[in-house]
Symmetry: C2
Subunit: 104 residues, 2 copies
DNA sequence: ATAATAGGCAACCAGATGGTTGCATGTCAA
DNA sequence: TTGACATGCAACCATCTGGTTGCCTATTAT
């Protein structure tokens, strides 16, 4: 879980996921295209995404194809985000109550 | 958005949010309790959470009360997580297709 | 008034992170 | 088979990050 959060913390990596979301199964060079960094930097980012199980790869000849794995993202939504959404209204009204109390 | 992801990337900070989720409106010292780091370190973490608008504070005498703000978390769920959930099944079946193709 | 309590601020430090360059390897095409 | 192409690997570098220590300020309680 921690690895996934860490992986998602970087804007370049989120952008890579976006690109894969737009077109799955791209090669390394394809993913480098238009990015303001070297291929090696992209390799590192993809490595981190892979380690976090956010992308899977498939070697096809001399090319390496990258596929998004939506499961960890979904898990974060399920196990983490929703937990805080449940208390949302309660938390807001509590905050409101406290803010009003301040001016007494 | 980037600030929120960065803030959530650290396990200590997520744990602080958990604590606030369990009991909202805690003071700094309360939040320090039982954690294996100095008060100053916790202050920094809370500062980052505050900068990301994940917690709001209220001064009450010499105490500083911390309240969770669920909105940014909710936004990440809405604007980011859901996007990838939509393509989930499609992505999985695509991956499956590719994996099978490999063994041809 | 004074001591204890709650917190703020700044300097410093080691290790992680994001990036680079340079070169090696494996695969495809001519 | 030889050159071009897609990728891998390693060393290096600057900066960011998470943590520390030391000291200062403000509020409360005795």
């Amino acid at each position: 879980m921690d690895e996934v959060f860490k992986a998602l913390a970087d804007a370049s990596r989120r952008s890579l996921l976006d690109r894969l979301h737009a077109k799955n199964g791209q090669t390394l060079n394809e993913l480098c295209d238009g990015l303001a960094m070297t291929r090696q930097a992209v390799t590192k980012h993809l490595g981190i995404l892979e380690a976090a199980n956010l992308v899977g790869t498939l070697k096809h000849g001399r090319e390496k194809l990258h596929y998004i794995n939506p499961v960890p993202i979904h898990q974060i939504g399920e196990r983490w985000i929703r937990k805080f959404e449940r208390g949302k209204l309660a938390a807001l009204s509590e905050l409101k109550r406290q803010l009003e109390k301040r001016d007494e």
